[in-house]
């Protein structure tokens, strides 16, 4: 038995309840795109990129384990311009997801949901991750 549905003259709720007994939360296409929403999507997208990026990390480790010949070959791929581009993208995604994760931990405490703070956090995660990714690569090449 379902609990009685609340009285509503909201058209959307009525239409949705034709397809399902339970009301559905409205999804993305209903809202106009906003920065906070784009950044929320980026957390999921970077998570998915890292998911498949883990394959590169493990491939590289397996190559190192396989012996010097195969390692040189893989090392060559990864230090080609395409390989470096992929690795840079991976660094960017990792740092973006890291900052986004820290933001989630802040939210988990119940803080950071107020209007100016929410926007500041979104702008911060958008700008800090490419900047930090560039800093990491700059350091890597400067201290080599």
């Amino acid at each position: 038995m379902l609990a009685p549905k609340p009285e509503s003259n909201n058209e959307t709720v009525k239409i949705m309840s034709i397809h399902s007994e339970r009301p559905l939360s409205p999804h993305l296409m209903i809202y106009k795109p906003m920065l906070t929403m784009m950044i929320s999507m980026m957390h999921r997208i970077t998570g998915a990129i890292l998911y498949f990026g883990a394959l590169f990390l493990v491939w590289w480790l397996a190559a190192a384990a396989a012996g010097p010949e195969y390692f040189s070959l893989v090392h060559g791929y990864l230090t080609s311009w395409l390989g470096l581009l992929v690795l840079f993208g991976f660094t960017w995604a990792l740092i973006h997801h890291l900052i986004g994760g820290l933001k989630h931990f802040l939210w988990d405490t119940g803080a950071g949901f107020e209007r100016p703070m929410l926007e500041i956090l979104a702008i911060f995660s958008a700008l800090s991750s490419p900047a930090l990714a560039v800093v990491v690569w700059a350091i890597a090449y400067l201290v080599r």
Binding site: M1, L2, A3, R22, R44, G47, A48, L50, Y51, A54, L55, L57, V58, L61, A62, A64, A65, A66, G67, P68, F71, S72, H75, T91, L94, L98, G101, L102, H104, F105, D108, V136, I139, A140, Y141, V143, R144
Partner: protein, 126 residues
């Protein structure tokens, strides 16, 4: 009239049918990923531009090897949990969903096993 509470009607109707522990382990593995990610980035910086022999010597260092094993385990666990949520959100066909969830477990276990085995082989063999 029903004597069931509204909570009872709502329970287990989410797309995953369960969740608190999942949420919690997503946080725990996420928190553990922070120092491990910093470790990985610093290792990457340190290895950039080194010869292959230098890279192998660094990977053989027991502390580096332990750090890498921890990283592979925590990442594999965290990414399994994360991809599970994505599949539960977007894949709605019953069989497609279970196929996706199984593939996710397979992929994550594969990552963990190959990663750990490779690090151990570098440390002890080859």
């Amino acid at each position: 009239m029903s004597l069931r509470t509204p909570l009872n009607d709502a329970k287990n109707h989410g797309s995953a049918h369960s969740g608190t522990m999942h949420f919690w382990f997503q946080r725990v593995t996420g928190i553990a990923s922070v120092p491990l990610t910093l470790f990985l980035i610093i290792l990457g910086i340190y290895l950039t531009g080194q010869s292959n022999e230098g890279i192998m010597a660094t990977l053989k260092n027991p502390f580096v090897a332990l750090g890498l094993i921890a990283t592979v385990i925590v990442f594999a666990w965290h990414m399994k949990l994360g991809m599970q949520v994505i599949i539960e959100d977007y894949v709605h066909g019953k069989w497609a969903k279970y196929a996706g969830l199984l593939a996710n477990i397979g992929f994550s276990v594969f990552i963990a096993l190959v990663g750990i085995f490779s690090i151990l082989k570098i440390s002890f063999g080859a």
